[in-house]
């Protein structure tokens, strides 16, 4: 059987990060995901959108960009985080495995409004 190179690359990233059990892992920038892609833009000191609603068990790709300095995306309740680097797209595959409202935040200190830079992921059945 001929394996799809992109699928292998994604699987390799997940394996290296050891994130399979959390339902989330970083996805290679060049991959072309089939799941729904939700674009989130980080600027000092906001995420747009700041609130994202997902369905439990339905995988999505969170696609991040920053318009200025390096930012972080940290979703502690799912044990996942990523750097959002200027000029690059950061993709994070997430399979929400529990319902509720979960805070995400910038965890790279970025200036005067850093402490208010957060958002919510709402997971529904």
């Amino acid at each position: 059987m001929k394996l799809n190179a992109k699928a292998m690359r994604i699987a390799a990233v997940a394996a290296v990060l050891g994130l399979g059990s959390t339902g989330a892992y970083l996805v290679a920038e060049s991959a072309q995901p089939k799941e729904k892609v939700i674009k989130i833009t980080a600027t000092r000191f906001n995420y747009t959108p700041g609130e994202v609603t997902l369905k439990k068990g339905v995988p999505v790709i969170l696609e991040f960009r920053t318009l200025d300095v390096i930012m972080g995306f940290n979703l502690p309740d799912f044990g996942v985080r990523a750097d959002i680097v200027p000029g690059k797209v950061t993709r994070l595959r997430l399979v929400p495995n529990k319902t509720g409202t979960f805070v995400f935040l910038c965890d790279i200190f970025c200036g005067t409004g850093h402490e208010e830079m957060n958002g919510k992921i709402i997971v529904v059945d």
Binding site: I70, G72, N74, P76, D77, D83, V103, L105, D107, I108, F109, C110, G111, T112, H114, E115, E116, N118
Partner: protein, 297 residues
């Protein structure tokens, strides 16, 4: 294993009026100290000099009141330790240095002969500690005082809230010089454990530092960052957060966002304060052995 501490077990409260409140805490392991002298130090934290806003209408006066309160203590401490966020963050490097100069001028009025500093993320995360070092020196260092080994760990100069592998190696090398029962005090700005990651009250690689400290029997950590008194155990290591000196923050998870608690005109300066730590030599301990008159065969 992680336990909450019953603070009554080890703290006694001594109100001193004004802005300050002193907590006296005995350090574990002092019976093993090489120099058998009690001593006393003060932890001051998070003065956020340069902050302006409704959470503190006396933003330009509170630090000066705290300095006066420390100076009015019956006994001056052996030293004073500022555990970070000396200044409130600014994107302007010139303004950052202006705030540090003003802060340094104000705290120069402290009577205590030795005053030590470490950065918080507001001081150091936007320039990797450059301005802080110009004014206050190294961001991580050690010193010894009357038989206690003190270690200042910088978990803010990297804006990602990392101690970093290089500093962890430095910490490991320093600890290798210590006896396993040596009394050790660690100062950090952020908590070394995951107090509230949703509010960025954590150090990303803090668990690595705790792992390095774990083999040592008498370790106590004092930190700031969360602007409130908090006590926590990771195994046998106690972690004590101090109140701030500009505005109090809410208990983790008690409100949706980590915005400062509002100023209460009926109780001005409520939630602000500093801490006294009394390193007490333990009372003599007697190990008892009972002997019979005649040994059994």
């Amino acid at each position: 294993m992680v336990n909450e501490i019953n603070r009554r077990e080890f703290l006694k409260l001594a109100g001193i009026g004004g802005v300050g409140v002193v907590f006296a805490s005995a350090l574990p392991g002092m019976a093993h100290a090489a120099t058998q002298d009690d001593f006393y130090f003060v932890q001051m934290s998070d003065p956020h000099w340069g902050f302006e806003g409704p959470p503190n209408p006396d933003a330009k006066g509170t630090l000066k009141k705290a300095v006066a309160a420390v100076n009015s203590l019956d006994y001056q401490p052996d030293f004073i330790m500022f555990t970070g966020d000396l200044t409130h963050t600014t994107d302007n490097p010139m303004e950052r240095r202006k705030r540090m100069a003003e802060f340094r001028e104000i705290v120069s009025e402290l009577k205590a002969r030795t005053v030590r500093f470490m950065p918080g993320e507001h001081d150091a995360s936007l320039d990797n500690g450059k301005a802080f070092k110009e004014f206050f020196g190294s961001t991580n260092y050690t010193f010894d005082h009357k038989g206690v080994h003190f270690i200042v760990v910088d978990n803010v100069s990297d804006p990602r809230a990392l101690i970093g592998d290089e500093q962890l190696a430095w910490l490991a090398a320093d600890l290798r010089q210590q006896k396993k029962d040596a009394p050790i005090v660690v100062f950090t700005h952020r908590p070394l454990f995951d107090l509230a990651p949703q509010w960025d009250w954590a150090t990303r690689d803090g668990a690595k530092a705790v792992d390095l400290l774990m083999p040592y029997q008498n370790v106590t950590v004092f930190y700031g960052h969360i602007h409130q008194e908090h006590h926590h155990m990771t195994g046998h290591i106690a972690h004590h957060a101090a109140k701030g000196l500009m505005f109090p923050l809410p208990v983790a998870g008690s409100q949706p966002n980590r915005t400062p608690l509002p100023w209460n005109p009926a109780e001005p300066y409520k939630g602000l304060g500093f801490r006294g730590v009394n390193a007490e030599i333990k009372e003599a301990e007697y190990k008892l052995t009972e002997y019979p008159v005649v040994k059994k065969g």
